[in-house]
Symmetry: C2
Subunit: 304 residues, 2 copies
């Protein structure tokens, strides 16, 4: 109506507990610009949500209305507004973003709902959008998606549906053990590929030994001298190996793709490849954008 | 020589990372008085060690010399002085306390060495004294001692020797998960015995599922409403059950005693009893004193 050329056609937002990222999207689904901050849901009061978002996307807003489609903890009960969980089995590409109230009348905010599973009890928020992004590009995918992170998800996909999923606290165990436990004295920066490979193999053959093997990292440092890089890789390997042993019913004999940040995705892909699997490695941030794009175009009202 | 009647014949000290406890001991091995503080090794600089101890035991010192026998992290490399680890197999009742320098000339301080094991790499400091205490009262014990704590120890005992041992980080995992992880939102005070029993059974039958079951505590809270007492007991049960599965080669078909603080010892004893074992439950603090007493009387020079 105004004839103004807008910088962004719509805005994609990934807003988790510890981070906030936004992309200025063109009508054909390209990201023209990306901004990010550490203003995650976890460190904000409810009245700070909208100012934090506006602060980031202000330069992209014209004088007219703007559609914003967001995923992640922003749609949790403690978030901007609740986008109630959708029960599996369900099709991520058919998730309908839920409108959320805004004070700035020119913003139309929609939040992508998370997924829930009754038995075993499980939930996800944010990963459903990455899965939607993957399925948008691979509509016939029949297999398993592994999404490593603080709370790693394994999702069984068939006929465009998430059939079931399971969350592992591996990333959070790694973070709390390296920062808070006695292992903080032993684990440091750096990586030792052989230590990682050995620990994965050990953990997969006797996953129940986890708590004892964790302490052995400390004992080895005391008895044989420190090796912070090897201890770091060994801790990762023990945790990832225990997770793979546990998730075996998910990946055994299946087609599999790992969706995540570079290093995490690489570590899981490697460990899975050692089990004889042919693993696709996919960038997590790209899948988030792709999922936001697919769901935005499916459900957003056309902006005049 | 002075004819002075002394309040204490000698002083027993248990000095760990987070606590300091001392007992005024009579010549026949009774504790006449007990004092404690939170001045563990972990929060003190080396120059603060002696003042912290004197501050506590001053009232028990006469004008003459005083023997002090101590166990725990006080004898580690970062402690008052290093009492080097003794390699297993070895007899805890033959551990020779190592003299440590003091500024107060009237104190004669001796530190009980810890134990080490080369393969798998493992160490203990403090528990060897509790084991000595148990063996002083049960010289013919042939079986397994379980010592629950921040770092739970399982020790195989035969002919008065620690043949092998293994440390599990169960207690520390519990503490970091309840304080630092996403589970802090779900776990609270209180106890639910049925939740504990169910979690032990679950964890023992599929111990490799630990990381997934941990997250299910959070997911259940989100989907079915909070039950902090049940979540607490379930978290304990999952961790203890995974440990018991892992330690099965230690306890299966063996005579077993659990040495620990009241609640921890009870929890382990129960879980072991559910496996059909006849478990003796022994007070950890009493065993520390008994071990200090046995090793003190064996090696301390007679005080004039």
């Amino acid at each position: 109506m105004s004839g103004e050329t807008r910088y962004a056609d719509w805005i994609a937002v990934d807003w988790g507990t510890s981070h906030l990222r936004a992309w200025a999207m063109t009508s054909v689904g390209d990201a023209r610009a990306e901004v990010g901050s550490d203003k995650g849901m976890g460190c904000l009061e409810p009245e700070e949500f909208e100012p934090a978002l506006l602060d980031l996307i202000e330069p992209w807003l014209g004088s007219g209305e703007m559609d914003v489609t967001a995923c992640g903890m922003v749609g949790s009960r403690q978030g901007w507004a609740e986008a109630p969980y959708v029960a599996v089995p369900c099709k991520p590409l058919e998730l309908r973003p839920v409108p959320a109230p805004t004070k700035a009348s020119r913003l139309t905010l929609r939040l992508i709902p998370g997924l829930k599973q009754e038995t075993p009890a499980d939930v996800m928020r944010g990963e459903e959008t990455q899965i939607a992004g993957y399925l948008a590009a691979h509509p016939g995918f029949d297999g398993v998606l592994c999404l490593p992170g603080t709370h790693t998800k394994w999702a069984e996909i068939s006929a465009g549906e998430v059939v079931s999923f399971r969350t592992f606290m591996t990333g959070e165990l790694y973070a709390t053990l390296t920062k808070q436990s006695v292992l903080r004295h032993s684990v440091g920066e750096g990586w030792d590929e052989a230590a990682f490979a050995g620990a994965v193999a050990e953990a997969m053959s006797k996953p129940e030994m986890l708590a004892a093997r964790l302490f052995s990292i400390r004992a080895e440092g005391l008895l044989r001298g420190p090796d912070p890089a090897a201890a770091n890789a060994r801790l990762s390997g023990l945790l990832v190996g225990a997770e793979l042993a546990s998730a075996r019913p998910y990946w055994l004999g299946r087609e599999i793709a790992v969706i995540g940040a570079e290093f995490q995705a690489k570590v899981y892909s490697e460990a899975l490849a050692w089990q004889g699997l042919d693993v696709a490695e996919v960038d997590g941030s790209a899948m988030t954008r792709a999922g936001l794009t697919a769901l935005h175009h499916r459900y957003a009202e056309p902006v005049s």
